[in-house]
């Protein structure tokens, strides 16, 4: 079995999808959480000067989606055919687009007025449009009572859970117009491995 070391900060953030897939797979790993003061020392060692990074027997992989997909594949949870894999990838990318829009106003907008404006546009316009697409795409997979792809959990669910955590924290009933998505959140939370991780993971602001 390879050795896995996941480097990130004290938070869920961009590392959490990988942590969720590692939990679903039951794969042991070193969950390294760097202090900000340590980052200048670690940054030059990372392929693109960023975290998260997954070190697999000494090889360093960066970019959160690449990492999550790799971990998903390690336990056969990335889709069973090329088309299934493309569907899982497409869903994950859609969720990441939403996460990036949130990061844009949360982390990268300093002007308070602009921040509030972007957040409003996100919750009033962008997010409802895309949740509508996501609900429809879930339903397209055998009525939407299972998972996004085939008949099992994939990295698509990991990214979706991270997105729903963030949007529900802001707006608790945000998923009520999307019943299949709301029900899926509960199914992910009780998935073996993930359920235990959610109960024991550090509670962090991001």
């Amino acid at each position: 079995m390879p050795s896995y070391k996941l480097y990130y900060f004290h938070g869920r953030g961009r590392a959490e999808p990988a942590r969720l897939m590692l939990a679903a797979a039951g794969l042991p790993y070193e969950d390294i959480r760097l202090e900000y003061e340590q980052w200048p020392e670690y940054k030059p060692k990372m392929p693109m000067g960023q975290a998260p990074v997954l070190e697999v027997d000494g090889t360093m992989i960066c970019q959160s989606v690449a990492i999550a997909r790799f971990v998903a594949k390690e336990s056969g949870r990335a889709g069973k055919t090329n088309i299934e894999q493309a569907w899982a990838d497409m869903m994950a990318d859609g969720f990441v687009d939403m996460l990036n829009k949130m990061a844009d106003y949360v982390w990268y907008e300093e002007d308070e007025a602009r921040k509030a404006e972007k957040k409003k546009t996100f919750f009033d316009t962008t997010l409802p449009e895309f949740l509508g697409y996501f609900e429809k795409l879930l339903v397209a997979n055998n009525g939407g009572g299972g998972f996004f792809v085939g008949d099992g959990l994939t990295h698509a669910e990991a990214f979706f859970l991270c997105l729903s955590d963030d949007i529900i924290a802001e707006k608790p009933n945000v998923l009520s117009p999307y019943p299949k998505l709301a029900a899926l959140v509960e199914r992910i939370k009780t998935y073996p491995g993930i359920k235990e991780w959610l109960a024991k993971r550090p509670q962090t602001p991001f």
Partner: protein
């Protein structure tokens, strides 16, 4: 072999790399290029209200990188092992991050702000990015292993797109990256495709 139908606008944009991947793999595909005016009618028929989309035996896939990975796998350009595939993915994701910065100046409507953004991009953002990517490419001119992958093709595609927006060749002085570009342009399928694409 499945039937492939790619739909996008006419320009290079997000589909340029996808068409290159089909060309590199010698894979036949229907290359549908729509006019702007056709977009409103097509939009509701797409999975996430966006293009490019790829129809594969009736299933419609969206998201450029999901599509790219699918074609790359068919063409044998997605990496030879799961770890190599992850390395290909990470290179492509980094290029995608750079593309966000490009889109930002591309769609800027205020001309003065646009020029400021292009200046910042050309003088700071891009050079820093290329310094990082020079180290990630090897001396045989590949990002992963020693054969062509989607990572190489994607890098070339973005540099090709940037060509018209920058005064100088940004790869000057970057030995490995220049080799990557050369490897891509000398791939027979890609060479033939580029000849067709740039001859009108």
């Amino acid at each position: 072999m499945p039937s492939y139908k790619l739909t996008y606008f006419k320009h290079w944009g997000r589909a340029g790399v996808l068409r290159l991947l089909f060309a590199a793999g010698g894979i036949e595909f229907e290359d549908v290029r729509i006019e702007r005016e056709q977009w409103p009618e097509l939009k509701p028929k797409t999975p996430m209200g966006q293009i490019p989309i790829l129809e594969v035996d009736g299933t419609i896939i969206c998201q450029t990188k999901a599509i790219g990975r699918l074609i790359a796998k068919e063409a044998g350009l997605a990496g030879k092992t799961p770890l190599e595939a992850a390395q290909v993915d990470m290179i492509v994701d980094g290029l995608s991050d750079l593309q966000v910065k490009i889109v930002d100046f591309f769609i800027e409507k205020d001309e003065k702000k646009k020029q400021e953004k292009i200046k910042e991009f050309a003088e700071k953002t891009l050079p820093m990015f290329l310094d990082t990517y020079e180290k990630l490419a090897n001396s045989s001119g590949h990002f992963v292993g020693d054969a062509l992958t989607w990572a190489d093709v994607d890098f070339f595609s973005l540099m090709f797109f940037l060509k018209d927006h920058l005064p100088n060749d940004p790869l000057k002085g970057h030995v490995n990256l220049t080799k990557v570009r050369d490897n891509v342009t000398s791939n027979p399928g890609i060479a033939a495709w580029m000849e067709k694409e740039t001859s009108h």
